[in-house]
Symmetry: C2
Subunit: 268 residues, 2 copies
Amino acid sequence: MVKSPPMSSNPSQLNNNGATGAGTAASSTSSPTFSPLYQQIKALIMQSLQSGEWKPGELIPSEVELANRYKVSQGTVRKAIDELSAENLVVRRQGKGTFVATHHEAKAQFRFLRLMPDVGEHHAPGNRIIDVRRLRAPAEVARQLDMKSGDSVIFIKRVMSFDGTPTILEEIWLPGAIFKGLTAERLIEYKGPMYGLFESEFGTRMIQASEKLRAIAADEQVAELLAVAPQTPLLSVERVSYTYGNRPVEVRRGLYLTERHHYRNELS
Amino acid sequence: MVKSPPMSSNPSQLNNNGATGAGTAASSTSSPTFSPLYQQIKALIMQSLQSGEWKPGELIPSEVELANRYKVSQGTVRKAIDELSAENLVVRRQGKGTFVATHHEAKAQFRFLRLMPDVGEHHAPGNRIIDVRRLRAPAEVARQLDMKSGDSVIFIKRVMSFDGTPTILEEIWLPGAIFKGLTAERLIEYKGPMYGLFESEFGTRMIQASEKLRAIAADEQVAELLAVAPQTPLLSVERVSYTYGNRPVEVRRGLYLTERHHYRNELS
DNA sequence: AAGTGGTCTAGACCACTTT
DNA sequence: AAGTGGTCTAGACCACTTC
């Protein structure tokens, strides 16, 4: 007599385990792994993001609409979107809706560029493309990109300048299969962050990255490109970037001149 | 006629704006700033953490109990604790309860130590205390600690070793008023992370930190302490640590030898 | 006025832990 | 069996945006 819960129809093909309440583990029989409903919804939404059903910058369906589509309550959809929002995959705007996150925004610009000027503001960097070519992946790069050694990759070498001072020398490797049409011209003429170009022109959105930092001494070739003395200490930043599903799609090795800049990191 | 919501008594001195529903902005009149109920609850809980009503490692009252205390629903308390958990101020354990986070845990150890060995696991570091003394705060340190130049600070200088290899040279400044009884003996005899000592013996818990990284060259004094050649490139890490209420309570300048280690950072 | 995300409540059931 | 956090639902009202 204690119970008279409202009871809606069971979510179609989702693994909800009967009743109104929630549940994590298996209930009836079979099936190896179960997860909370909102995690399943989250995974479904992420699939739609990955497949391009909703593109960067676009509005995704409202919470009510998604709740109807997936046959769950709005609160469950809400919790799923909460996590996607916390992971910077979508952006919520009160009164307007929920949008697919994009690298074409002033806000998202510096999420992947942690080098800050010691004093003053961040200006738009200069971008000098030194080299773009197609080559066979070196063993170490292939390993990091989860490719076979010798597979085709696009290689980019460039120098970024701040206030006219060469500051970052970067080498970038990208899977050739994904970034087939990428040329030096396209990189030079493109205004804005490189990840914006990748997202718009190649349908590949970087959503996470892992960096290893070291201090090294500039060799002669590097010193010349950065216009500093050989042996100048440089901050070495080796990055592997990932797209949906933790698929590695970029290796980037940067050398940062830190005489008037620093790499900012918040520990929390 | 559309409404017959359940309606509980109004939360005592909290700024709930009538009715069952929520609300952010002002409703009736007066009062300058408002915030969602769960934010107010979060602030109240944080006060209890800061005041030491619930100490690190201890169990805090259950969600139901807190809901009764603050005269709000369990869901509202839940959302408050969700955020505290996301900020690593508390740790939830299903079936057991919610605990105040502590630096005395294997898990929390490496939240503030990002230097990782290139290969293999992290071993317990050796800790050689070079100097501990009381002195007047240099201008720059005073500024970072929000103190007056010349105020009393505790100064610590130490070298940490991994696998017997000197790897980190650190200088640390702490407000003298807070860390009065801190001696070299105490630092040497203490086993475990320094932040655990600060938390247990001085009632000051570091909850957040901000770091600036640079590459520099070792001078002769540094080179000798780290047993490397002068001019060896080192990773300079300047940290300001904060306790509750964003109060800065530590300045730390570290020089990391990155020949067999790297500073790991996840961008997400 | 209608639609969207944001807050709050109440109640139910679940999984996990301890008694 | 009792208590705790974890999930799910339904419904109400709010603030913000657009029509």
